[in-house]
Amino acid sequence: MIDRRDAISAIIEATNPNDLIVASLGMISRELHAARDRATNFYMIGSMGLASAVGLGVALLNADRRVTIVEGDGSAMMSLGNFVTIGQEAPKNLLHIILDNESYESTGGQPSVSGNFDFSAIGLKTGYANGKTVSDLKDFSETLHSPHPGPYLLCAKTRLEDHQSAPPRVAIPPEQMVARFRNSLKD
């Protein structure tokens, strides 16, 4: 099992300043924001399940940029149908990471139904070019650093964290997030 904080650090470490990240609501956006904020990070503060659709659109419309979606198991399962569109559109520049702690951590750690579910297998069945599930930080980090033609579905089994260590909410006004993200796509 991987600590979410370590997973987020590994993602940051493997991305260039030019790379775009769309992060789902809850702890994932909060953790990414706390670890390293950038104009190229787009944090969803609401709209559970929408991050994969937004990330897909960003990848398709910016084929020259690497795009990473980071979402939780709850968000991914809520919009599992988006896997089908991603598989069909097949953007090579898209990495879809699911941090699977088998729970709804932001709302108090209630168990999710992902325990017996294989996200990467579903990704491969729906047309992703690559799919892998890892439960060890070294594997996760190595995968991020190896060439990974997309769409790539990378599922990392993560630990349910002690809620006391929760990073603060993303305090950037949503409109400002849009403005700076749009600006970072202008060049």
Binding site: L50, A53, G55, L56, G57, L60, V178, F181, R182
Partner: protein
């Protein structure tokens, strides 16, 4: 010309392109059937098939993040699926998207099939409650009205909708 004659789909699509709408997504609807046919045949349009209407909003919101305005084509029965995307994403981040919504069950019963009666009667009211500026498509005056709506959406960075009835698009 018949008083209620609709607009040719290719002409409508050319107009939408002329006001900057080229990235589209949605879930098909028979009211806009001819428009979907025109889209399929038009290499200038990037259409991404969504599995749900809220996903179509997410995909086309990325168009705005990338410097253009996106369009969602859907049926009014999908309005229930887009409320959360609109209220907790587009309306707070101020990300405009044009919704082209087929108005099944317009006017309520006995018009159309029973599954469209409740939403047909509530469609305009529901979009208004959510806070989406909504226009009823007028085949005679659509260019002026749609241009005004899209200009307002770009200026205010807010989503907008146009309600299309059976026969409006031919």
């Amino acid at each position: 010309m018949h008083l209620n004659s609709g607009v040719d789909a290719i002409e409508l699509l050319d107009f939408l392109k002329s006001i900057g709408l080229r990235t589209m997504s949605g879930v098909p609807d028979s009211t806009s059937g001819p428009l979907f046919t025109a889209i399929e045949a038009d290499p200038d349009i990037r259409y991404i098939g969504a599995v749900r209407e809220d996903a179509a909003i997410g995909i086309t919101s990325a168009a705005y993040l990338s410097g253009e305005l996106g369009t969602v084509i859907m049926q009014n029965s999908g309005i229930g699926n887009v409320v959360n995307a609109l209220t907790s994403f587009n309306l707070i981040y101020r990300i405009p998207v044009l919704l082209v919504v087929g108005w099944r069950g317009f006017g309520g019963p006995p018009n159309d099939a029973p599954e469209h009666w409740v939403m047909g009667a509530k469609t305009a009211e529901l979009l208004d409650v959510v806070g989406v500026r909504t226009l009823v498509f007028d085949p005679k005056n659509y260019k002026t009205e749609l241009s005004e709506l899209v200009n307002w959406m770009n200026r205010e960075a807010m989503p907008g909708a146009v309600l299309v009835k059976q026969g409006d698009i031919l």
